[in-house]
Symmetry: C2
Subunit: 449 residues, 2 copies
């Protein structure tokens, strides 16, 4: 028990020992007139002397509760021991599929100090293996840190860096690539990696965690196991997002990177495919991958990948709304932007008063693409006169592409060429499944349960 | 038959007579080497001499097919006669609930000429009654045109005008108000009307049509019937959106105006409640209204409405994305904006590099509100350091309010006061149910069917 409390020192450790509490137990902390109840979490030794006890609340969040001599701690339920913590990492076997995990930051690989909120270094290979020993039964893992940022700080130049690392790993012959990423902008990065490497021999699997991760956190571990399985064994070679398929720990979904969107601020099953089915379901326990959707690119280690990772940062994603001021478009003209993706209304509209400015933007060489804030369904700019006027002004209709994916795709195309006709031709070409030519009725969710 | 073809003249009429085709029949038009098949639609007399035949395709869209002497028309299926077209309007009965329909434009009340795309005057009371004679069994209807625009051209000053008309109708003692509106920005207007009239005695029901409307169009008629039922009989007095609940003509949903969003570019059931259940289901055939959600404001004709319909147009709705340039925020500072709603990522984030500019905006008196592009779930800016830094910079967390509703609410508050503390206090107050304090697990859709 004392070993499991190793991170706790001073008064926090004293109180926990007195309550006979171990990491993983459900405890109650009574401090002055407040009561906190949750699962006792392990604590980093570095911060252990500070008088905080970290518990995971029932809503999934961890909090650090300050304790002193007057605090009372009660053990509510003794939990089963948490697998593999702490222990020696298992021996890895070279004959298993080689998977590299590129970490970029985010909750999944960060050890966050709950007092200061500071992000600390990403997990090493050994730490990952200690934490989830089953990894050694599936793959030969190597972990590498590419960057260490919150995903809200991700930007196109870092997509380029991650793409280059993924490309190098493909050239080196890895059987699969996992990219650990914060969830906020994981969908954008998944789309960027889908476009940046053509002719992928193996999959690139983005994985994150929706709940603040400590060691051990079931949310992160489940998603990681699923992502390693997909990286090692899936028959497809696409850029995908692997995350919880529902709230329970039964299966994860594999979403096509260009068709996925974070649809909930906090749920584990926040990531959902829009205008497409997930490619597959993954069952980490049985190690099964069940294909349920379309496969666009197949795994084939003989394929030679091509890296095209220059993204134009002079591209804007602009939302239409009733008070939209045409001067916003003028701002981008003045700032010499190269592309604007409009998140329009309905079938692909924006106020008619904005159209003359959009026309001027196109005349000045800015590529303007129309998508819909509805998210579901397809752009059709032939139905109403506003759409037809926008087409006449030179706006490119975004088909059923997500606004976020259209933004990434346009940045990527403008990184290669600024020839308007060529940009238009490539934009309207279905590169990696970002356009789904056929929408079946079952692609729309059941909204009211 | 000839009476039903009354809108068609010249060659179009000749061809239709030869084929023994009536309005509502399924016909095939063979012109040169193209074949068009669909339901023959009636045609406005004013345009009838032009050589076009209007058919409704199976995808729900109407097209005008140009015909000449060489065109061949075949009748495929004889359809049952379309109710009430053309006929005399039924006599209205004063003793039924008095409902006023304020029309603003949009597909539902517009007769569009399919050749020119021009929008023509809205439907009159008599035309509505001719078209849907059952109306006379439910309500005493009066129709009034407030404006005639595409909903993408709607703007805050027109919300104010519609709100004033609705307020006047309440003062005059109508039992319910229907606002016919284009679907593109109907959610925004529904939110605006929810805030602009306090203490509503009767409901304001926004209704639209997702499919191009001709007389008769089942999509429009179904939604209109449902909206009249709600206006006349619902126990609540909120600003709501009434639209198809599924693809079939069985029930419509009543969505709270501040919690609804257009989620599909073309489906009939495009409107969906986010972070809330619909208030009710409406069955136009049985005239039943079944309450399934929360009611915030109850119908009570003794209530005295208060009009607060000034919306500040100096408010922006800005979406965060990986290449977001802090200069976009600077633009709004330079343009002396009064408010900015950020559609951030995840729990309420934007790139840390933008925070200093946001801080400066707040210092210059601009109110900045944070919402999430996830749409589902709640903002929580205490979990990660980016959120905490934004709070320190003075950003107001938008709770579970939709970005679009936050934009409307902030415009409305800034129309009343620019005192930052007062704006903040009102914004954080739950005015008409725009904040749902309790999210049950069943509020999240079932994404994969």
């Amino acid at each position: 028990m004392s070993e499991e409390l190793f991170g706790y020192q001073g008064i926090a450790r004293e109180l926990l020992l007195k309550a006979n509490a171990s990491v993983g137990d459900r405890i109650r902390i009574i401090r002055e007139n407040r009561i906190f109840e949750g699962t006792l979490m392990p604590r980093e030794a570095l911060y252990g002397e500070k008088p905080f006890i970290v518990i995971k609340l029932d809503n999934g969040y961890n909090i650090g509760v300050k304790v002193d001599q007057s605090t009372i701690i009660e053990k509510v339920v003794t939990k089963k021991k948490i697998t593999g913590y702490p222990s020696k990492p298992p021996i890895q076997r070279k004959e298993l599929p080689n998977v590299i995990m590129l970490s970029t930051g985010g909750t999944i690989v960060s050890k966050v100090d709950y007092e200061t909120g500071a992000v600390r270094p990403a997990l090493s290979t050994d730490e990952l293996l200690e934490w989830i020993p089953e990894i050694a039964d599936i793959i030969y893992l190597e972990a590498k840190e590419v960057t260490r940022i919150f995903s809200e700080d991700m930007r196109p130049s870092i997509w380029a860096k991650v793409a280059e690392e993924a490309y190098r790993a493909m050239i080196k012959g890895y059987d699969g690539i996992v990219v650990a990423h914060g969830t906020d902008t994981m969908g954008y990065t998944a789309a960027a990696l889908a476009f940046a490497i053509e002719n992928k021999p193996v999959p690139i699997v983005l994985v994150g965690s929706q709940r603040s991760s400590d060691r051990p956190s079931t949310d992160s571990a489940f998603n990681l196991k699923a992502s390693f399985l997909v990286a090692a064994k899936a028959p497809f070679a696409e850029s995908v997002v692997v995350m919880h398929g529902e709230t329970g720990d039964v299966y994860a979904y594999v979403h096509r990177g260009v068709k996925v969107r974070k649809m909930h601020t906090s749920r584990r099953d926040a990531f959902q495919s829009i205008n497409d089915k997930p490619i597959a379901m993954v069952y980490p326990d049985s190690k099964e991958i069940k294909i349920i959707g379309r496969i666009i690119e197949w795994r084939d280690k003989n394929k030679e990948p091509i890296l095209r990772n220059h993204f134009d940062e002079k591209v804007a994603l602009v939302k239409a709304y009733p008070g939209f001021d045409p001067e916003i478009i003028e701002f981008f003209i003045d700032k010499k932007y190269h592309g604007i993706v409009i998140e329009g209304t309905g079938l692909g509209h924006i106020a008619n008063r904005v159209i003359p400015t959009i026309k001027r933007a196109v005349e000045e060489g800015i590529v303007v693409v129309m998508t819909s804030q509805c998210l579901f369904g397809r752009i059709n700019m032939h139905v109403y006169s506003t759409g037809r006027r926008l087409l006449e002004a030179g706006v490119i209709p975004g088909n059923d592409i997500l606004p976020e994916t259209a933004y990434v795709k346009l940045s990527w195309i403008l990184g290669m060429t600024r020839d308007l006709e060529e940009v238009k031709r490539i934009f309207l070409t279905n590169i990696v499944g970002e356009i789904n030519p056929r929408h079946t009725i079952d692609l729309y969710p059941r909204w009211v349960l």
